[in-house]
């Protein structure tokens, strides 16, 4: 549902639903810490980031119309058929075998934290570097760049020389007038 919406906000809503459902999948797998992180980081931070960008871009009805023109049925019928085939395959595989109760083996957050700061400490620091680089890169790319020319190229070289010459003569004349007085 996310990739077939025309309007970005609708797609973001479906994306939030998708993140919640995958968080439930993590919870049923016995990973409650990861499920909480999924909701907090993905559905909390990344969705809000997307919504801010959509708000700043102020995409209106023309953009939705444009996307609607691009997504004519002959364009998306084949991928949709493929995805439906995958879905039907999964449903057949799910219902062919006898159902058994999902065994839940919870991996505790304590074990996770001990392993994270024990043997993966280098990777944690590298992730910190990556996030720092991401922050600096986003701040540098996102700021509005003005086209700043060099000061010799702003008015042309000859004009610059002329202004300096006139300034020199003016100073000379003021000195001469001071001496005369």
């Amino acid at each position: 549902m996310v990739i077939t919406r025309f309007h970005p906000v609708h797609a973001l809503l479906y994306l939030a639903v998708s993140f919640f459902s995958s968080s439930m999948v993590f919870l049923s797998l016995g990973a409650p810490f990861v499920a909480a992180l999924e909701i907090i980081v993905y559905a909390g931070a990344i969705i809000v980031l997307f919504i801010f960008v959509v708000m700043m871009l102020n995409l209106g009805r023309e953009t939705a119309q444009q996307e609607k023109e691009w997504l004519k049925p002959k364009v998306w019928v084949i991928p949709a058929a493929l995805v439906l085939l995958l879905l039907i395959e999964m449903i057949i595989l799910l219902f062919s075998e006898d159902k058994q109760v999902m065994q839940i083996a919870v991996v505790e957050p304590r074990k996770l934290a001990l392993s994270l700061y024990g043997e993966y400490i280098i990777a944690v620091e590298l992730t910190g570097f990556l996030l720092m680089a991401g922050i600096v890169g986003a701040a540098h790319i996102g700021k509005h760049k003005k086209t700043e020319l060099h000061r010799f190229l702003q008015n042309g070289h000859t004009d610059k020389e002329k202004t300096t010459y006139t300034r020199k003569t003016e100073t000379v004349t003021t000195e001469q007038t001071a001496i005369h007085e």
Binding site: I3, F19, F50, V53, L59, L94, V107, T127, L130, G142
Partner: protein, 100 residues
């Protein structure tokens, strides 16, 4: 079929959906959203494998994928803002300045 294999299949379907989204949409924002879906599917596969072997390594890999996705989406959205301010369009087919 145990639960880990089912979750792996769900992750595969999600990854396929994200790939279809990247390949078909022309809007840059939708392509970023589809990339997020694909990263989420990869993390789900890691967590399923970690739950199968009862080890916390899969969840640690999911944490790293999470941090990488956050950095990627911040830089990507900054690029989207810059592209929109310079070209006034979101269509990737019109952004052909780098084509020789």
């Amino acid at each position: 079929m145990n639960s880990a294999q089912m979750v792996l299949m769900v992750a595969a379907v999600l990854f396929a959906l994200g790939l279809v989204g990247v390949l078909t949409r022309k809007n840059v924002i939708f392509m970023l959203i589809s990339v997020e879906i694909m990263l989420n599917a990869a993390g789900m596969a890691f967590v399923a494998a970690g739950a199968k072997w009862q080890q916390p390594d899969g969840q640690i890999m999911f944490l790293f994928i999470l941090a990488m996705a956050a950095a990627e989406v911040s830089v990507g959205l900054a690029l989207v803002l810059q592209i929109y301010h310079q070209h006034k369009t979101m269509d990737v087919d019109r952004l052909r300045e780098l084509r020789d």
